[in-house]
Structure formats: C-alpha cells, structure tokens
C-alpha cells in the first residue's frame, strides 16, 4: 500500500470537488487513506466511479463480442451458401452443355432422317419415272415393230416413235440431271 502526503491528498480532493475528476484504475486499490476520513471517502467514490465505468464498458464489449460472433456465424453461413450456389451453378452449366450436346445430336439425327426420307422419295420417283419411261418406250417400240412386221403404214407411227423416243431420252437425262443436282447440293450443304 502507498501513502500520499497531505498536500497531494488535498490537491486530489480539490480536483474532485472542482472538476469531478478522480483517479481511476487499479492504482486506487493500493492507496492507503492514512486515517484521512475525507480522502477515504474520495477513494471509495473513485473506486465506485471506476467500477461503474468498467461495468458499462464490459456490457458494451460483451455486446460487441456477441455481435461479432453472430456476424462470424452469418459469414460462415454465407460462405457455405456461396459454395452451394457455385456448385449448383457448375452443375447447371454442365447440364446445359449436356442438353446442348443432346439437342445437337437430336438435330443431327433428325436432319439425317429427313435426308434419308428425301433420298428414299427421290429414289421412288426415279424408279417410277424409269418404269414409265421404259414402259412407254417398250410399248411404242412394240407397236412400231408390229406395224413393220405386218407391213402397215408406218409414216405416222415412225415419226411418232422417233419423237416419243427423243422426248423420253431427253426427259430421262433431265431426271438424272436433276437427281445428280439434288445430290450435289445436299452434299455441299453438309
């Protein structure tokens, strides 16, 4: 314990009376009033004031500490949510890529199917057209041959056969040309 001389005690007392200014902190706990009633009361008041201030500060500090804990917990929760969101986003991107790939595959398949159908249709048309050409050619040739064998007048039939054959030949080349053109265009499109 430390003892202050009367002048120092008087100065501290005067300061407390004039300015309400007291010593504070643990130093108060080691000052001996040395039998001075007034200074003893000063020490009690100073200690009480110091404790009151510390109590207030302790409450505020505890509140801040509690808020800090809540904020930290919220931050951790946010980080976890951000992580979950990032994972979900990555998964969604992967799903989008997969869906696009599936769509491209489906479109490719559909295109192929359409082309196949077109080719089948063209093939059918060609076949029918060839059969018609061959049928007409064979029929007119048979009629012309029959007329020649029987010795009938072939003036009209001969010119007709000739015309017919040239038309059929032209048409068949036209059909083949068209088919080749379509096939060439399709290949270029791919």
């Amino acid at each position: 314990m430390i003892k202050l001389d009367p002048a120092a005690r008087r100065a501290l007392l005067d300061l407390s009376h004039k300015s309400r200014l007291y010593l504070e902190g643990n130093i108060l706990k080691v000052i001996d009033p040395d039998g001075d009633e007034e200074f003893s009361q000063y020490l009690k008041d100073a200690i009480e004031l110091d404790k009151s201030n510390r109590r207030k500060r302790l409450e505020v500090t505890k509140q801040i500490q509690s808020q800090n804990k809540d904020l930290t917990a919220a931050q951790e929760e946010n980080s976890k949510l951000m992580g979950d969101l990032q994972r979900a986003l990555t998964e969604a991107e992967a799903a989008t890529r997969s869906a696009e790939q599936a769509r491209n595959t489906a479109e490719g398949d559909l295109d192929l199917l359409q082309k196949r159908t077109q080719f089948q249709l063209v093939g059918t048309i060609v076949k029918v057209a060839l059969w018609v050409i061959m049928g007409v050619g064979v029929t007119t040739t048979l009629l012309y041959s029959l007329a020649l064998v029987k010795g009938l007048d072939t003036t009209l039939l001969g010119s007709t056969w000739s015309n017919m054959f040239s038309i059929l030949l032209t048409n068949s080349f036209s059909i083949i040309g068209t088919i080749m053109g379509v096939k060439y265009a399709t290949e270029k499109g791919e």
Partner: protein, 144 residues
C-alpha cells in the same frame, strides 16, 4: 487475495477488454498484461528468465491462438518445462473438449476456464481457488 500480475495470451483483442474489466471489477489482479500471440509470450518468458522482476504470477492462455506458430497447450508446456514453472498456468477457451483438457493437464495446466458471456462467476470461483494453485496443492479444475 488479489493476484499481483496476470498475463493473458489470446488472439481476440476484444476479449482482452472483457477480461481486463472483469478482473478489475472482481478485484482479481492489480496488473494485467494482454498479448495476442503465443510466440510473443514465449519471447517474453525468455526475457523474464534473465530478469524475473516483471514475470507474471499467473498466465491465462487461449487454446487456439490464431497467427501463432504453436497453440496454448504447447505454450503452457514451454512455460512449465523450458521457462522455470514459476507461475500458475491455465487455459481459457470457448472449447470444453475433453481430449484437449486432458492434453492441457498433462502439459502442466492447473485449470481450464470455459469462455462464455458470463465469465465473471467462473473467474470468481478461480479467484477463491487461486491460493491452492499458487502453492501447487490445488488439483486441476474445469470452470464451466
């Protein structure tokens, strides 16, 4: 009985204020020094081994001291085994993990105080047991 001086080693600076105010209100210590690193504490103890006048009577150490190269249990082991075992040492932590408590006890810790919003009753109980710790007669105790 009031402890002459206490050293608090805790990385949470806000807790320094809480601890200081609680100790002052409960008349636990006359002087309190608070630092935020186990490395700093180790350095201080090296200094105090040369000049022990400023050596604290009691050391409160946090379990996990962020930013330090070793934890609180290792610091207590160092104080007890490398720096002369001249003061009361214990852990003050928000954890109450039994395995860690056992490790602290085997490192030479004399008490374990669980941090909470209501730290004052635990410090008050510690204060009443302090003489036992000082004389090395008090058994290890957990204040939770």
């Amino acid at each position: 009985m009031m402890i002459n001086s206490i050293l608090l080693v805790d990385d949470e600076n806000l807790f320094h204020l809480v601890f200081e105010d609680a100790c002052s209100l409960l008349d636990i210590a006359l002087h309190l020094q608070a630092i935020d690193s186990a490395d700093k504490a180790d350095h201080l103890f090296r200094e105090w081994s040369k000049d022990p006048t400023a050596r604290p009577d009691c050391v409160f150490v946090d379990l996990n001291i962020v930013g330090s190269s070793f934890d609180g249990i290792e610091l207590i082991r160092k104080i007890n085994n490398e720096h002369g075992n001249g003061c009361v040492t214990g852990i003050i932590s928000s954890s109450a993990d039994k395995a860690e408590i056992a490790k602290a006890q085997s490192a030479g810790a004399q008490f374990w105080i669980v941090k909470s919003d209501e730290i004052e009753p635990r410090l008050e109980a510690f204060k009443s047991d302090y003489l036992g710790y000082k004389s090395k007669k008090g058994s290890f105790k957990v204040y939770a």
